[in-house]
């Protein structure tokens, strides 16, 4: 099914001009996604890209993939529906930290344990951008925002630890401050057979903290390779993930060397088991109903 012709970065750019604030980290994420997709080599029409709602969730519109801005917090259920309806598609899901860990937080563990071959990219800016600067689930304790006027009273979610704890088979973190690195990570995530999660620290220049901008990322980021991390070691990955919020580690935290079948493969196996014969490809599905 999959094409392997070569596609340039430009092939994945849509005619829409991004309306993010100048300097928003999401521009870098978008560039990295273009690069990763061109390295993968699937035709744009074989890619489905869905998001929730938020500034970051605008991202599918800026690509030539099929996809849309869906419902706040529901990118993952919709992505799963798409993947199950058409498993040959390359399915990407994306959104913000509010979208993914607050209102949509309940969907994440189940997407992970179900293990469909979907790549989920969260643009984590520790703030609600689109609604103009309220507390997000990854905002640090004490942060002053429009909805935490005297400082937040809540501990932030640690998304890396969360997903590792939920049993995710592929977990990575990047930043648009290192676009080459981020492209490679997204590419690896897409190539990974199973649910893959990439947390991107993507600064909000308008409402984010001044010390969490690209400049600070550039100065402070530490690649996991440079600290000699073995990405097949989940416990070590969890250990390093505890630095979320203090040290910005980039790279693959965990990649299951023996990830097992995806959900859609298991569905296929079950079908074969019941029908006793191999599944008719979708193009010939009508033959099932036409007596010979």
């Amino acid at each position: 099914m999959s094409t392997c012709a070569s596609f340039a970065v430009a092939d994945f750019k849509s005619d829409l001009k991004p309306i993010w604030c100048p300097g928003c980290g999401d521009f870098g994420v978008l560039q990295s996604i273009y690069r990763a997709l061109s390295a993968i080599g699937r035709a744009p029409h074989e890619i489905s890209f869905v998001s929730g709602i938020g500034c970051s969730s605008r991202i599918p519109g800026y690509t030539t993939a099929y996809g849309f801005n869906s419902v706040h917090g529901r990118a993952l259920p919709i992505a799963q529906g798409i993947k199950l309806a058409h498993p040959e598609l390359l399915v990407l899901a994306a959104g913000g930290d509010g979208d993914g860990f607050s209102i949509g937080g309940g969907h994440l563990p189940h997407a992970i344990r179900r293990n469909l071959d979907i790549t989920y990219i969260v643009m984590d800016n520790q703030i609600y951008g689109l609604t103009k600067g309220q507390l997000s689930p990854t905002s640090p304790r004490g942060l002053h925002t429009a909805s935490s006027v005297f400082g937040s009273l809540e501990d932030p979610v640690n998304p890396l630890l969360y997903v590792l704890g939920y049993g995710a088979r592929f977990v990575a973190q990047g930043t648009p401050a290192d676009m080459a690195g981020l492209s490679t990570l997204i590419e690896a995530a897409i190539r990974f057979k199973g649910f893959s999660f990439v947390n991107v620290q993507s600064p909000c220049i308008t409402f984010g903290q001044p010390d969490q901008q690209l400049k600070a990322h550039k100065a402070g980021m530490t690649s996991l390779a440079s600290v000699g991390h073995d990405p097949t070691n989940r416990i070590k990955a969890m250990d390093l993930a505890q630095a979320y919020g203090s040290t910005l580690y980039t790279g693959i935290f965990y990649q299951d060397p023996d990830a097992g079948p995806t959900y859609e493969e298991a569905v296929e196996t079950r079908r074969t088991q019941f029908s006793g014969k191999p599944i008719v490809p979708r193009q010939r599905i009508l033959e099932n109903f036409i007596p010979r």
């Binding site: 209102i103 609600y128 689109l130 609604t131 309220q134 689930p137 429009a146």
Partner: protein
Amino acid sequence: MPQVTERPKPFLFPEFCKGCGRCISVCQKHSIHFADHINARTGVVPIEIDLDTCNACGLCMDACPEPYGLIGRPVDATDWELEDPSHLFGHRPTTAPVPVDIPDQRVALPACEPLVVKGNYAAAIGALLAGCRHFFGYPITPSTEGAELMASLMPKLQGVFLQAVSEVATVNHMYGAASAGQRSMTFTSSPGFSLMLEGISYMIGAELPGVFVNIMRGGPGLGNIAPEQTDIKLACRGLGHGNTHALVFAPSTPQEMLDMTMRAFDLSFRYRNPVVILGDGYLGQMTGRVMLPRDMVKPGIPAWAVWGDAMHRRNLTSSIMLAETDLEQHNEHLNRKYEAMKVEAMADTFVCDDAEIIVVACNTPARMAKGAVQELRHMGVKAGLFRPQTLWPFPVDAFLPLLAHARRIVMVEASPGQLEDELRLALSRADVRTYPPISSVQHFGGILPQQHEIVTRIMDLPAGSHAQAVSGSEVLA
């Protein structure tokens, strides 16, 4: 001769069998089988016992997990009769005192100059003056300012502000706070209101108060963030599943945002039912002069609150009623409450006394409609404005007298006729079979009907049209 004590054979009151079949599998004599009918009171198939083959071994009675399920029937009791356990044992004894209402107090406010504030702020201030000290919400444009004002004021007023993780969480936080008899509210907008409906249904079922300010925006789906009035249907007819209703207010000025929010809290507690305030995106953002009331409320604690002290020990809030008869009675009680709420219907009229053309509008479109009516009066057209301030119940009693001289009804709304549907339903319920033809000026998608459109629409109406049977509506979209 050795004495044989006869063991009791099993007995079952079918109402207490949950049909699990455990007894069937333990019976070595195969004396138990499922009945061939469904028990009408429980909706499940109970078991039946063939006492002729039963040897009274008692295994089934041990196996039955139901406290009032299979039991041994005393052998010697000839006139023995099983009864409902609550009849046998009565209510659980309690030494808790009978709870009484700790009444609200009114505290005089010093006189002050009018404020000039946005509609959303006015509603937030109204809530604070009504004694609301629990705010839960999830950011959503165009309602967020209300929540943000609460975030900056609540901590200073010994209150609680919590940004929930979603609207689903919001409504359930409100459920919890309301159970404790506390005044709680939220600000939201259409997509968020959709998510709250499940919880609102539960709150209505459990008879819990709470105030929901929905600043309506364009839909369906994500739509946009511009003003619309397309949640009228949802608020009046679709508050989640089951037999639900709530008072629905439709303010059209920042002053009404404040006044109606204050009133909403009073009524929410009076009727023990949520109250919905429907604003539109424009009204939420619009700045206006707002007079503060003369006094504010220091809430007491209602007798029904699950307040967690000795006096409230016997209270319970719940919407679960498994027995059909109980649930039917509960719904009859809710219906009586809904009926009683009808006295809260409110409407405002503007030059309607001799009006031949009745313009009907609420929220911001009512402001355009009022301008149009003024303009038409200058042109010598006898137009008047009828502005429902409550949408449920619809103020039909205030509307009926206007029909005496009305020749046309013109609906002005930022929705495809949801207000018109409420009017038509109210007329139908009031047994009004003939009324003047209804025309309408409608816009959707975030565009509000404009004054000149309303005037043009009315000037274009066929001259001297008389009252006639219900006609199809003519729409200017």
